[in-house]
Each structure stands twice: as structure tokens, then as C-alpha cells.
């Protein structure tokens, strides 16, 4: 990293911003109800299982029950859970892409749930940026135009827009691709554009909704590494949703595990693996425990082998 970028980072470093938590979620609920005479459109609900339940004639389904979380400045917080556990609903509530039924969300000291339309638009433009599983790129805009999109929405100057976007594309390793259209890019590269679009906003908080789930394992790993590297430099607060435990372990400082709309355990990855709170979590981390046990065995065997070799020589 060169000097000017370092300065940028220092200026944007959110750790010192306030003493309070970056994100505070209190007693958050989301209940989908059937309106009289209206079918629930599946576009409102991310979760197919919930839609099915509503279709079956249930009057209401609970997508999120009494969720309370505190996310500190500068940490990467992972939300883990199987599909249908409400993690997508939760991350969308933070931006009010999904309206929570009750509860409070306080981000950067501001009560998001109490904002009016105007305040909400400004909040989304300044304070928070999101990366999506399905990228959500504009097919009729070039890579560069996609990255500048958020800046354009909030009315930044054209010149500074381009400059920031080029810088951001450079960070995600897409220099030279700015004139291409999304259709010409592979999945991994499209998500790089998605990340560049989020970084360029210079928001202290980053929301990532299963950003690497659709990518093949090698590319996924590559992007995870780059994200970890970027995070070291940027020191943002990252709210990261995934269903992949190994991803959670690599990326996360702390994690919460969700099951059927409820948080069942919060802790550091090590804590969660060592002391699963219930059987659901235990099953989740079973493979990882297995791996660790095997790794220990291999290590022990390796040591024994080396010792043996040493004896021979």
C-alpha cells in the first residue's frame, strides 16, 4: 500500500469514532403476515420455506425471533446458519431492505428503525455498504459505471467519482477491466466488482450477504484471502452472513449461530467449536472438530516419524 491510501485509511478508521458499539440490535422480530385477500409475493420473502408455510394457509410466520446482538467497531462478525434460519432477513433488516416488525437497530449511534424515508436514503448512501450473493450488478453499465453507481446516487462529483472508482478497482485487482460489461466477467470477477462498489463508498460498516457462496472453491478461497488482507488495511466493521463454517472460521473475529430465526450461540469461533451450546451447533461444528482431531493425529504421527528418522541417522 502506498502512502496516500494509508492516510485515507487513517481518516476513515472507525474504531475511534464512538465508544459505543458499531451495530446494536435489540429484540428484533420479523413476522410475515398474510394480508387479507392478497397472496404474499415471494419477492418480499427471501426464504422459500416461509413462503411455503404461508401458502399452506398459516396466517403468519416468524422469520426472526427476538434477536439481540452487539457488534464492535473494527470486528468481522459472522452470522451463520442453514438456509431458512433467518440470516438473510437479519442482514436486510439492518438496511431496512426488509422492514423489521419490532425491535431496535442502532448503527453508529443512530436509530435506524426510527428513520424516515429521507434519513434512511442518506444513511444507506453514507454509513453502510452491502455486497450481495447474486452480485446485483447493473447489466447495462460497464464495470466502472457499476462501481461509481453508489457515488452517483448520492451526487458526488463526476471527476472524484472516477478517481475513487479506479482506486477501488485497483484494490480488488480489476485494473484494466473498467470498460467491460458484467456479462463478460466470471462469477469471481463480478463479485470483485461488487466488493469494489462497496469499498468505494468509504462507509465504516460493510454488510456481506453470502458473498462467496456462489463461487467455486478455489476462487472462493482467493477472495476470502483478499478480503482478509483488505480488512487488515481498512479496519472496517464487517457483518458477514454465511452458511459455510470454514469461511466463518477463516474470516470471523466473532460469530453468532442462528436457527429458525433465533440466535442460539454467540462467541469466538474457537469458543463455538470447543463448547457448542446445543446439539444443532454441535452438528454444525462436528466436521471441524473431526478435522482438528485428525490434524492432531497427523501432527503426532509426523513428530513420531521425524523422531524415528532422527534415530536412524
Amino acid at each position: 500500500m502506498d502512502a496516500p491510501q494509508q492516510q485515507d485509511v487513517a481518516a476513515a478508521a472507525p474504531v475511534a469514532e464512538t465508544g459505543a458499539e458499531a451495530i446494536l440490535i435489540r429484540d428484533l422480530w420479523k413476522v410475515y403476515t398474510r394480508k387479507k385477500g392478497m397472496s404474499v409475493s415471494s419477492s418480499d420473502i427471501e426464504n422459500d420455506e416461509l413462503v411455503e408455510e404461508l401458502d399452506k394457509g398459516e396466517d403468519a410466520v416468524v422469520a426472526m425471533k427476538n434477536v439481540s446482538l452487539e457488534i464492535n467497531w473494527g470486528e468481522t462478525f459472522i452470522i451463520m446458519g442453514l438456509s431458512g434460519s433467518g440470516k438473510s432477513t437479519l442482514i436486510r433488516c439492518l438496511l431496512r431492505l426488509v422492514e423489521p416488525t419490532s425491535g431496535d437497530i442502532i448503527i453508529n449511534g443512530e436509530n435506524v428503525t426510527a428513520m424516515n424515508k429521507r434519513q434512511l436514503v442518506n444513511f444507506r448512501r453514507e454509513k453502510i455498504a452491502m455486497v450481495f450473493q447474486h452480485y446485483g450488478l447493473l447489466p447495462h453499465r460497464t464495470v466502472l459505471q457499476n462501481v461509481t453507481f453508489g457515488l452517483k446516487l448520492r451526487g458526488d462529483e463526476k471527476e472524484s467519482r472516477k478517481e475513487k472508482a479506479m482506486d477501488s478497482l485497483d484494490k480488488v485487482g480489476l485494473k484494466g477491466w473498467e470498460k467491460y460489461y458484467p456479462a463478460a466477467l466470471s462469477g469471481g470477477m463480478r463479485q470483485r466488482v461488487g466488493i469494489a462498489r462497496a469499498l468505494v463508498m468509504d462507509a465504516p460498516i460493510l454488510l456481506m450477504d453470502e458473498p462467496f457462496s456462489g463461487l467455486d472453491p478455489l476462487i472462493r478461497r482467493e477472495l476470502q484471502d483478499e478480503m482478509i488482507h483488505l480488512q487488515k488495511v481498512m479496519n472496517k466493521t464487517i457483518f458477514f452472513v454465511t452458511h459455510d463454517l470454514s469461511e466463518a472460521l477463516r474470516m470471523g473475529d466473532r460469530m453468532a449461530i442462528m436457527k429458525k430465526g433465533e440466535i442460539v450461540q454467540v462467541g469466538s469461533p474457537d469458543e463455538v467449536i470447543a463448547n457448542p451450546a446445543d446439539e444443532y451447533v454441535a452438528r454444525f461444528v462436528q466436521d471441524e472438530r473431526e478435522h482438528m482431531r485428525r490434524a492432531e493425529e497427523v501432527l503426532a504421527w509426523d513428530m513420531a516419524g521425524k523422531e524415528g528418522a532422527a534415530h536412524v541417522s
Binding site: 442518506n122 446485483g136 447493473l138 446516487l153 460489461y181 456479462a183 463508498m201
Partner: protein, 283 residues
């Protein structure tokens, strides 16, 4: 046979209603009529002012520019030449001016209605059955209200054409807007797009291929209707067709009919090529 004592006619009542309507709103209908007529004459005088060879060159260049196919463009440019050869150039221009007027009016009404239909549920709920009705109605029927209110001639022809050609552009505009992927809309909202920005920056550009397909459909329907509206006295290619039917003059009918087809092909090709240019790039 249907029993005679059960017969009941509303024709008299309708006639009285229309008479009253015309009597009390004569000035309104007159001004609408005058407005459309002067616009129509303006379009027609511009069309006749342009020399015939300019059309042929323009068709060739537009086609070449949008499709880059040489033979196709030459064939397309030859079609208006054939219309001229049949001696129907002036007639074709008169039909074209009715089409242009009706289509411009249809777009001015249809595009905003399509946007409203996609944005507001109640509007869609009201418009959809009306559009269904408009599209299932036989095209001849549109001549009746147009004729009742505006008499004979070009103005009722424009209005009948307008009503007949309106549904596709409304429908396809709304359809295109509703088909924008939810993931893209969500991303735009997450970055702080207002409703207006979402429409202008994301939904309308992504709906453009569908909207232009609607424009193409509307133009094609206008062309069909212009032929039919010769029955209420609109001059043009349709009149030639009608005359040759009445006189059982097959040869003359063939020339006029082919001219209509040529006109349709040229307009269809040109508007379709325009629509293709708006599709999101593949590379």
C-alpha cells in the same frame, strides 16, 4: 327464432346520448379535432416535402447503421421504391402520416400509463381489464365511437388507430419494468437509490428492450388499423384496397395490398433493429 316480443333496442337511446354529448361538448370535440388535424397536416406536409429518394437512402442508412447487413439493407430500401413504382407514393405518405400521428399520441399516453401500471397496484388492477377488453374487441368496432364523435375523415381514423394501437405499449412497458431482476433493484436500494432514481437509473434502462418491443407492436397495429379506417373515409393505402374490393379489381388490390405489406416490413425492421441496440451488452 328468437321471440320477437323479447327484443329491445338501445340504439335510439345511444343515438340520443351521443347527440346530447355532441351538442353539449361540441367545442371540446372541435378543439380536439382541430388539434389533431393540424398536427396531422403538419406531419403530412413534412413527409411530402421530403423527396422520394431521400426516403430510400434513409431506409438504407438506418438499416445499415443498426444491422450492418448489406443485402438486407438493400432489399429493405428497395421496398419503398416498389411502392412508388405502383404509383401509390402519395397514398403511402398519407397512411404514414396517420400512423405517425397515432403512434406519437399512443406513446405519449401509453408510456406514462405503463410506468404507472408497474408502480401502482391499483392502477394495474383498473387498467388490466380495460386493456383486455380493448384487445379482444374486433378492430372494426373502434370505428363506431370515433365516427360518432368526430364524423368522417382523418381525425376519427387517427383516434380509432390510437385506441386500437394503445394496449401493447402500455402492457409491454409495465411488463418490462416488472421483469427487472429483484437482485439488481435490491442492490440499487441498498446504495441509497430513491424511488425516482431506481426508476430512472435501473428499471427503465433494463426495461428498454421490452418497451421498444411495445413501440414496435403499437406501430404494427396502427398500420393494420389505418387500412381498416379507410372505411370511415381516411385517404391512403387502405382506400385503394377498399376501392379495389368494391370494384373486384384484383390487380389493383394486389398492388395496394403489397404496398401495405412493404410499408409494414420497413417499419417493423427499422424499429426492431432499434430495440436490439438497447439490449444489455453480452461482452
Amino acid at each position: 327464432m328468437f321471440p320477437e316480443f323479447l327484443q329491445y333496442h338501445v340504439a335510439g337511446a345511444v343515438n340520443r346520448f351521443i347527440d346530447d354529448l355532441i351538442a353539449s361538448y361540441a367545442s371540446v370535440f372541435d378543439s380536439i379535432s382541430d388539434g389533431i388535424l393540424s398536427f396531422l397536416l403538419g406531419v403530412n406536409s413534412v413527409l411530402t416535402f421530403i423527396p422520394w429518394w431521400a426516403y430510400i437512402i434513409a431506409v438504407f442508412l438506418l438499416s445499415w447503421y443498426s444491422s450492418k447487413k448489406l443485402i438486407g439493407s438493400v432489399v429493405l430500401a428497395a421496398l419503398p421504391f416498389l411502392i412508388g413504382m405502383f404509383g401509390l407514393w402519395a397514398m403511402a405518405l398519407e397512411s404514414l402520416s396517420v400512423i405517425i400521428t397515432a403512434v406519437l399520441l399512443a406513446l405519449a399516453i401509453g408510456l406514462p400509463l405503463g410506468v404507472l401500471m408497474a408502480e401502482l397496484r391499483p392502477v394495474a388492477a383498473i387498467l388490466r381489464p380495460i386493456l383486455d377488453g380493448m384487445q379482444t374487441m374486433p378492430s372494426f368496432v373502434y370505428l363506431i365511437p370515433a365516427m360518432m364523435l368526430f364524423g368522417l375523415g382523418k381525425v376519427p381514423a387517427v383516434l380509432a388507430t390510437l385506441i386500437y394501437a394503445l394496449p401493447p405499449v402500455i402492457r409491454l412497458t409495465a411488463l418490462g419494468l416488472n421483469q427487472v431482476p429483484k437482485a439488481v433493484e435490491e442492490a440499487a436500494l441498498a446504495y441509497g437509490a430513491t424511488r425516482w432514481q431506481l426508476l430512472k437509473e435501473v428499471r427503465l434502462p433494463l426495461a428498454m428492450p421490452s418497451i421498444l418491443a411495445g413501440v414496435n407492436q403499437t406501430t404494427m397495429m396502427a398500420l393494420a388499423m389505418v387500412v381498416i379506417s379507410s372505411m370511415i373515409g381516411a385517404r391512403g393505402l387502405g382506400q385503394e384496397v377498399l376501392l379495389s374490393i368494391n370494384r373486384i379489381d384484383v390487380g389493383r388490390g394486389f398492388e395496394a395490398g403489397m404496398s401495405v405489406v412493404f410499408l409494414a416490413i420497413v417499419i417493423d425492421r427499422l424499429t426492431q433493429n432499434m430495440a436490439k441496440r438497447w439490449e444489455p451488452p453480452k461482452r
